[in-house]
């Protein structure tokens, strides 16, 4: 009896060992595989199109190489999480991936990204990239870790019909915050059922709240979130309070959407798909990619939007120089630090970002070109009537301070806006809460009063 028990036990043990050895093995020496991770959603397929094209081109040119495209179907936040989880372990880390510019620095700190300097030296086309855009892929050590795909800017998008009906002279060019309020009140007086001027607020819209609303205000006061020179976070600024007070005015006078609508994470879909096309909204602050939703094949096709929509730079607080303000983000392609085939992976990256592929991607996703040859291409400049306007904003645009602490700080800003528009805190109190939160996150030594 005992012998049999021992035998059974050893059989089970053996089976366990065999099973453990059954983990996915190496793909074989003769053929090489490149894993590519990127984002694909029903409203964002431009990258998928581009990578499919690059895959065909690359596989034809390199016999025996398989490009394994692994689209991740998720919104920006969840995509970032899934990517970070995959990058944590070398066995799941992709060779090439789509990376948000504002995550580059913290992912370099984590050791996820491969330093590209030695590869870029041998790539002639690198010189065609815009210097400002190149900086987006640079980390604290001065090395470049990611190659930009495109960038974006933010501006005011307005419905010409709504403004015209309210007697506003077109093209509308607000010079200060006061101009915005005056026009919004005019629209409201003319037709109370219209939402005159929307700006996102609260945690529901996440980064949209800060990128497409609060930072336009804050950076237009001359203040900023982060002092690049000293590497410290700004607290106690008058500009921060003024910005909150402006949002409060917008929401209190019902010039923007209702607070309940603002806190719904899906509110932007209504802005693009319902309110602006149906002339139920006067204006909103949105990214340069806005036309990609309305053009043919976009998520919210709007025939004739070119005639109905106008674009204007977001003004500074009192119209002080440089007169306008914008925020930029953008995405890059990066290589995994643990990639077994870094040279092959870089070679694929250069195929994916060659002139032809860059041009079609930039046009399809309404991005702002980062390659000078693409930027000068008539196909890009005439993609929609607004390309020139939003591209010009690159001269006044700002970038987010992309440190590892940033996501928490951003959440604290979103909380401050939420507290103000729901009326639970005054702008003064909310700004004080924000200061306390920032001090708590980074420590008093890394803050500066300005």
């Amino acid at each position: 009896m005992r012998r049999r028990a021992l035998k059974t036990m050893s059989l089970i043990a053996a089976a366990t060992v065999v099973l453990a050895a059954c983990s996915p093995g190496d793909p074989g020496a003769s053929s090489k595989t490149l894993k590519v991770a990127y984002q694909k959603t029903d409203s964002f397929t431009a990258l998928d199109t581009m990578l499919q094209a690059a895959k065909q081109e690359f596989e034809a040119a390199n016999q025996g190489v398989t490009v394994d495209l692994q689209p991740i179907q998720a919104n920006d936040d969840d995509y970032g999480t899934k990517l970070a989880l995959a990058l944590r372990s070398p066995s799941t880390a992709p060779d090439i991936f789509y990376e948000d510019t504002f995550k580059v620095r913290s992912d370099v700190d984590a050791g996820y990204l491969l330093k590209l300097d030695s590869y870029l030296e041998g790539w002639e086309e690198w010189d065609t990239f815009d210097d400002g855009a190149k900086a987006a892929g640079r980390a604290d050590d001065g090395g470049t870790y990611a190659v930009p795909l495109g960038t974006d800017t933010r501006a005011i998008w307005y419905n010409r019909k709504v403004l015209e009906a309210a007697g506003v002279t077109l093209p509308w060019e607000p010079r200060s915050w006061q101009d915005i309020l005056d026009t919004a009140r005019k629209i409201k007086a003319n037709d109370p059922t219209v939402i005159p001027f929307n700006m996102y607020a609260g945690k529901g819209t996440g980064e949209g709240t800060v990128m497409q609303s609060f930072y336009e205000l804050l950076y237009g006061t001359g203040s900023s979130l982060y002092d690049e020179e000293t590497g410290k976070w700004v607290v106690g600024s008058a500009g921060f309070q003024d910005s909150l007070a402006f949002l409060k005015t917008l929401y209190d006078e019902q010039l923007a959407v209702s607070p309940a609508e603002a806190l719904d994470a899906n509110v932007w879909k209504k802005v693009f798909g319902e309110w602006l096309p149906n002339a139920k909204m006067g204006a909103t602050v949105e990214g340069s990619y806005a036309p990609s939703f309305w053009q043919d094949g976009g998520s919210y096709e709007w025939p004739g939007y070119e005639q109905d929509i106008g674009v204007a730079p977001f003004p500074t607080q009192h119209g002080q120089a440089p007169g306008a303000v914008s925020m930029s983000g953008g995405w890059t392609l990066a290589l995994g630090a643990e990639s077994k085939e870094p040279e092959l992976a870089f070679s694929f990256l250069t195929t994916a970002l060659n002139e032809e592929n860059s041009l079609s991607f930039t046009v399809e996703s309404s991005q702002i070109a980062v390659r000078k040859d693409v930027a000068a291409d008539p196909g890009y400049l005439d993609a929609n009537p607004f390309v020139r306007d939003v591209s010009a904003l690159v001269s006044v645009t700002k970038y987010r301070p992309a440190t590892a602490d940033y996501p928490r700080i951003s959440a604290a800003v979103q909380e401050a806006t939420e507290a103000v528009i729901t009326g639970s805190r005054s702008p003064q109190e909310a700004a004080a809460d924000y200061d306390a939160a920032v001090t708590d996150i980074v420590g008093a030594a890394k803050t500066v009063r300005k």
């Binding site: 992912d107 984590a110 309940a260 719904d264 590892a404």
Partner: protein, 293 residues
């Protein structure tokens, strides 16, 4: 040298060995990993992503100082007590009792309707509930049609909305458990009580309830643990907002670990959740063990 008797004793455990191994790997493993991670500064990105360092109880100290944490514990308790222990449990019992009296057709229709919510995948149920409660959702259209005041449910009463949604989704489970339990109550006991002059509610309170006590406790335990872990429903409907007014512990853990990339802190929240679940579990097991009257 062991005696043959001990060996046979050991052999008896052999059939459960695979199950125990699976439990260890897939249940105990992640739990231990979470406890371990909660004592480090592990992150999703940044310097400590790949080589987290030991920080001891720092994450738990931060948790105690975090103003959101007590609110979150309170909301979790309210959520579990309101939507599971009271809502699903009582509603399920009531439905089960009424269905025994109803005509077969009515009983079948009600049963199917209730179970329909339960067989939906959680994400689908969550979107359905979102569509029902949202600003221009079904509920407001119904209220508007009746000439009543429309409400922004997810904004003004986020907890009420997610609790109702969880009741809608989970009642079927309790109903099924109680239907099975009620069928097991022998008719002659009830009849004997009737002969002794016990009225309807007396028969229910003094005969039926004590006889299905075991099922009640089991059901309570299962729905409590299930509701403690509800994440998708809350995340899709309110994402914890507005202003943290519906941030239950699973939502808080997710936000900290994945939105802010602070896995150490997030797992600390998750560890507290595990402890709360364990406390509930122990309590119910105690109830189950008490000698039957």
């Amino acid at each position: 040298m062991r005696s043959p008797a001990t060996a046979r004793q050991l052999l008896r455990y052999l059939p459960v060995l695979p199950a125990v191994l699976l439990l260890l790997v897939f249940l105990a493993g992640p739990v231990l990993w979470a406890f371990h991670a909660s004592l480090t500064d592990a992150g999703l990105t940044g310097r400590s992503a790949r080589n987290p360092s030991w920080v001891g109880l720092e994450n738990y100290q931060r948790l105690l100082a975090d103003p959101v944490f007590p609110l979150s514990v309170l909301l979790t308790v309210v959520f579990v007590a309101g939507s599971a222990v009271l809502g699903q449990n009582l509603l399920g019992l009531t439905l089960a009792v009424l269905m025994r009296r109803a005509r077969p057709l009515v009983s079948a229709v009600v049963g199917t309707t209730v179970v329909a919510a339960w067989v939906l995948p959680e994400i689908v149920a969550a979107f359905a509930a979102y569509a029902y409660f949202s600003g221009d959702g079904t509920l407001n259209q119904l209220l508007g049609g009746l000439g009543l005041v429309r409400q922004d449910w997810l904004y003004a009463f986020p907890m009420v909305a997610v609790m109702l949604a969880n009741m809608w989704r989970g009642t079927a489970f309790s109903m099924l458990v109680y239907r099975a339990a009620l069928n097991e109550v022998p008719a002659e006991v009830t009849e004997a009580a009737q002969m002794d002059g016990a009225r309807g509610w007396q028969r229910f309170a003094f005969i039926t309830l004590p006889m299905i006590r075991g099922s009640i406790t089991t059901n309570l335990m299962l729905i409590t643990l299930q509701t403690l872990a509800v994440f998708t429903l809350v995340w899709v409907m309110t994402a914890g907002g507005p202003a943290n007014a519906s941030t239950t512990l699973p939502v808080l853990a997710y936000q900290e670990a994945f939105k802010f990339g602070d896995i150490g802190y997030g797992t600390a929240v998750a560890s507290v959740l595990i402890l709360i679940g364990a406390a509930f579990g122990l309590g119910y097991v105690r109830l189950l063990r008490e000698p039957r009257p």
